[in-house]
Symmetry: C2
Subunit: 331 residues, 2 copies
Amino acid sequence: MKKLINDPEHVVAESVEGFGWAHSDIVEVRLDPLLVLRRGGAVAGKVGLVSGGGAGHEPLHAGFVGVGMLDAAVPGAVFTSPTPDQILPGLTAADSGSGVLAIVKNYTGDVLNFETAVELAEDEGVSVAVVVVDDDVAVKDSLYTAGRRGVAGTVAVEKIAGAAAERGDDLASVAAIAARVNANVRSMGVALTACTVPHVGRPSFDLPDDEVEIGIGIHGEPGRHRIPAASADVITGMLLDPVLEDLEVARGENVLLFVNGMGGTPQSELYVVYRQAHRLLEERGIIVARSLVGNYVTSLEMQGASVTVLRLDDELTELWDAPVHTAALRW
Amino acid sequence: MKKLINDPEHVVAESVEGFGWAHSDIVEVRLDPLLVLRRGGAVAGKVGLVSGGGAGHEPLHAGFVGVGMLDAAVPGAVFTSPTPDQILPGLTAADSGSGVLAIVKNYTGDVLNFETAVELAEDEGVSVAVVVVDDDVAVKDSLYTAGRRGVAGTVAVEKIAGAAAERGDDLASVAAIAARVNANVRSMGVALTACTVPHVGRPSFDLPDDEVEIGIGIHGEPGRHRIPAASADVITGMLLDPVLEDLEVARGENVLLFVNGMGGTPQSELYVVYRQAHRLLEERGIIVARSLVGNYVTSLEMQGASVTVLRLDDELTELWDAPVHTAALRW
C-alpha cells in the first residue's frame, strides 16, 4: 500500500484539518469530535442541513458544506459511520431554531447512528426531519444495507434541498423536496479496480486484470455481476439501462445527467462515459437539461464511475441552478 | 490495461466531444481539427488567450476555457503536442483584433509547434505574444525539455493572465503579467504509481511497490531520485523545500499554495499534503493568502501530487480573485 498519508489512524482528522485551512472562507472545522460547519454557524430563520457518513468518499460530504447546501458534515472513520455522539453536535450546531434536515445514505450503520443522534437532538429541543437516500439500483439489500444503497444521488439531494432551505422553505417543505429528489434519482456504478482502506492495508476485494464489476457499491460491496473488460460505450449502456428502467423516464422529460468518478479515474474517461450516456438519452428522446461530471462521491482511489439520472421538473431545475458556494460545488 | 475508453485512437476526440456536450453553456467544440473555444467566440476588444498541449492532463487546458481564463484550448494526442495546423485555427479563432497570448508549457514539441503556428498566424495578420511556462524545479533539462518543465503553475498563469485580459489590458500588458506569474511560481511533484498511455497499453515506467519518485514529470519523466515510500509529511517537505529555495520567498510575503493531484490520488490525501505544506509555510513566517487543492494538471490515473507556490502581490491577488467561469475553475 502506497498512500500520501501519515498514520492511518489519523488520516481522516488530518485531512479534514487541512480541508478547513484550505477553505477557511467557507467552513469551520471542529476536531473533537470531528465536524465541518458552515462558516458563521447556523443561519437565523433557515432550516439547517446536516449530512455525514464514513470518510473515503470525498468531497462528499465536507466539500458540500457552505451557502446553498449543507450547514454541517460529520465524517466518520474511513468507510465507517460517524457515532451518535459525533452526529449530535452536528445537528445542534446546524439548528438556528428552524429545525434540521438530516440527509442519510442508506447503510445500516449510518441509519442507526443517525436515528440515535436524532432522538438525542430532539430531547434537546431540536426539530429534526430525516431523509434516507437510496438511489443505487444495482442491488436490493447488500453487504451493509437493507434495501438499496445511497450513492451519487446524494449530491442532488443535498444541492436541491440546500437551495430550498436557503430560499426560506420550512422544515416540512425542505424534507418534502429532499424526498422528491430521492424518489426521482437513480444511479449505478462500475469498478475497474478495488481501493485500499488505509488501516486495512490491502485492496477491499480482488478484481482480475481482465474483469470489471458492474453495480459496484461505494465501499467496494459486490455489484450485480462481473464481466470481461468491455468498451466504455458498452459499460455505459449497462449502467444507464437499469437506471432508466427503474426510473421510468418518458420521452420528452428533462433530466440531470451526472457522471461521477470513483476517485482514481482520469477525467478524460468520465467524459467518454458522459458522451455515450448523453447519446443514449437523446436516442430515447430524453432531454439532458443539466449535467455534472467529476469526482463527487468517491471510493478512495478506486477506478470506475457511476451514472446518475435525476428527473427534473421546473422547481427542481430552479433549485439545482440556485447559487451554491462550497469547496466542491460552486456557481 | 483497464480503462473506460473505446478505441485508444479516438479517446481524446470522444472525451472532448463529451466535454463539449456537458459544458455547452461555456464552450464550443470543433472536432476537425480538435479545438475547444469559448462559447460565443473571440470577445471584441479583449486579448485572446490560447493554450494547448498533449491530452492526458485534464482538466488542463479545455477545463480552463471560459470567461476570465482561456479563449481556446488545443488538445493534442495523449502526451503529444498538438500540430501547428491544429494550433493555428485556435490562434485565429481567439483573435478579435486585439491580439493573442499563447501560453505554452516548456516541452520541446509544444514550443516548436507553437512557434510554427505563431509564425503562420502572424502571416495572417494576428499579433501573437508567447509565454513559456517552466515552473518545475525538479530538474533542469529532461526527457522532453531543454530547461525546466511546465507543470501545475500553468493554472496560475492562465487564471491570472485571463483576468488581466478580461479587464481590458492590452497584449503587451497581458503578456507581461503572464511572464510575472511564471517568474514567481514554482512546483515539484511526486509519483506513487505510473500511468498508462491508452495507445501504449503498459505503464510508462516501473516503480516498485515500496518506492516513490520525487520530482516526477507530468508525463512520467524521471525526477530527482527515488526514495523508499515515506510519510506524507516527509514527502511534502521534500517537495516544498526546493520550491521555496528556488523562489526565495521571504518571511512575511503572501503566497498562493496549490496542492495538485496527479489524477488517481484520493482527495483526502491531497488535503493531508496541503495541511503539512500550510504548516511548513507558516513555520517560516510565510502567509498562505490563497489556496487551491484538487486535480487540475493530471497525468491520467497516476497517483501522486505536486506542490506549487506562487508569490503574490496585490495585483496578482486581485487578478486571482477576479471572477472565472470555466468547467474546472469557477468563482
